[in-house]
Symmetry: C2
Subunit: 345 residues, 2 copies
């Protein structure tokens, strides 16, 4: 009776014992391959400028050093996640030496186009004494003027993408050229694009999960002074989440009818604020890619991670501080954020 | 042998059994009286203006309504602590009806001098659309012009005092007229006194435990732009703790080589910001008096308590919202602050 039942079961499943062993072996192999495959295709794309900056702050000035939104964001993300891939463009002048800054952090630069005979985007600025305002001295678009983002085949199927600060047209082009929409699309932009390309910006916002802008930009985009009201307006434009960066006052995360307020670490000295917003965005999405989660609570932690990395960024000129962080330094900084905000009533 | 030893012991202590009983009874009575005595003398003094305001905001305007630093602070403190005593001065025009607003909250108004034939301090202001700046339309000092703070005997031995925003000379006079220095002296001031009475302000700062000012005032007082550096300078002037109020950006608490950052509750609408800083200070010291503690961790909680009460204050004109809060509303607001800042990494 037992044997009959076993036979019936085997017949029902369409396997005899030999086939069952084969099936189990195939199933195990399938799981292994699938895991391997997933670990290959899980990745984070960072689109943005890779450029030269020349900076002047009350603390000193630099010659041309590595700058650009993607540079800061990718370096920041690389501390959280090991599959970071840049899409950008540089000129012949950028040089292997500067590209190696990314390779050292295991950042994939297949997607950085190198335009022979052309020059990299160059920006020069001077910060005022309060470090909250700056004058642009030079902007040379160079290779960025007609940047056409090309997605290498190895970048397809990325599940996280940061569309760093660039023209909304270029951001949209990059997104549309992906075979499948990533699980999370984060877009960073600035008032400049609201001034000259608002329709294009509103167009891509419909396809974005998270928008990161600063408080003045949130007010400009929404026409509302209250940031709570501004968030309500902006979340109706498309994004499910909005992060309002407030510089020395921290950041606010809106979404799922909740609000999270993250402080900025109070710093005795801001040496050079360039790239802090990009670093924040890179740390934010890098953390989410690392935990592979996109819920509000994970985003709260990601905001703290981004804030912590941004607090390092401003300690030295350009990307210098971001190039040589240790895990311990980052963990201690995260702990400082906990200390800074925890209270018991 | 045992008896001998007992006798020896009794002799040694100088008591026989009868005396021992008497001693114990006296000791118990002493404890009871002392507890009773302590519960009488434990109190919180709030010094400041009790006045009329006429306000105009983008949401409307008021006739003369109750205002003044001590009014806001005392109402706020009364939600935390039941022994709140005001020192102030009003004119004959203030009226029983307005004074009863304090009595309803069991606030002691013995220390409010009523000047017959004179008028109360009156301030009128109009807020701009952003609610962050305002124009003063009218300032009539009236009874405040020669305010001489008198401490009623029943106020002596208070262990907490808030020296609300008034001239540093008046603040010092009030402090000096106390028989004993309270356990905690909190001082609130503003840029106006830094402009016209800096020496007097620096003089009283030497006797203060906690100073509360806003970010611009911290920069003015210290000559430092960075708030961390500003705090270092200001803490060398006397106070052991410094609270920098940043309006919609929350508050920073400095002291014991630690920093605490409290957010402001993001509000869709700020109806009338008048008195928010005074409310914060009142809630802050009221909470500390309630828990009878002055350590950094208690101050962190006190900052949240003050922030929560300030977030109510701005919801309606003047003191209106502060007059009718429930414990449940306050607890829910405190919970909102926890929700707003809690994160796990």
């Amino acid at each position: 009776m037992d044997n009959v039942n076993s036979k019936e079961l085997i017949n029902w499943t369409g396997f005899d014992l030999l086939h069952m062993h084969r099936f189990l072996a195939m199933f195990a192999a399938h799981i292994c391959l699938n895991t391997l495959f997933l670990s290959i295709i899980m990745s984070l794309i960072i689109l943005g400028s890779v450029a030269f900056d020349a900076l002047e702050t009350p603390f000193g000035k630099t010659d041309k050093i590595v700058g650009g939104a993607a540079s800061y964001a990718a370096l920041a993300a690389s501390y959280c996640y090991d599959q970071v891939k840049i899409i950008g463009v540089v000129g012949e002048d950028f040089g292997e030496n500067n590209l190696s800054k990314f390779s050292k952090h295991h950042i994939d630069i297949t997607g950085i186009q190198i335009k022979q005979g052309e020059k990299s985007f160059f920006w020069s600025g001077k910060y005022h004494n309060d470090m909250n305002s700056r004058d642009t001295l030079i902007t040379e678009l160079n290779v960025l003027a007609d940047f056409d983002p090309i997605i290498p085949p190895s970048y397809q199927d990325a599940n996280y993408i940061l569309l760093g600060n660039l023209s909304p047209q270029v951001q949209l082009k990059a997104l549309e050229r992906l075979d499948k929409r990533p699980q999370l699309v984060v877009l960073d932009t600035m008032n400049f694009w609201m001034d000259i390309a608002l329709d294009d910006l509103k167009n891509i916002l419909k396809q974005v999960d998270v928008l990161t802008i600063n408080d003045e930009e949130a007010r400009q985009l929404s026409g509302q002074y209250s940031l709570v009201k501004a968030a309500e307006v902006i979340l109706r434009l498309g994004p499910s989440y909005l992060i309002i960066k407030k510089g020395e006052h921290g950041a606010l995360l809106f979404g799922e009818n909740r609000i999270f307020s993250a402080p900025a670490l109070p710093l005795a000295e801001v040496f050079d604020p360039t790239g802090a917003g990009d670093t924040f965005a890179g740390g934010f999405i890098g953390y989410l890619a690392h935990v592979n989660a996109t819920d509000f609570d994970s985003m709260k932690a990601a905001v703290i991670y981004g804030s912590a990395l941004a607090s390092f960024c401003v300690e030295k000129f350009g990307t210098e501080r971001l190039e040589n962080l240790t895990k311990q330094e980052i963990n201690e900084r995260i702990e400082s954020f906990s200390q800074l905000t925890a209270f018991t009533i």
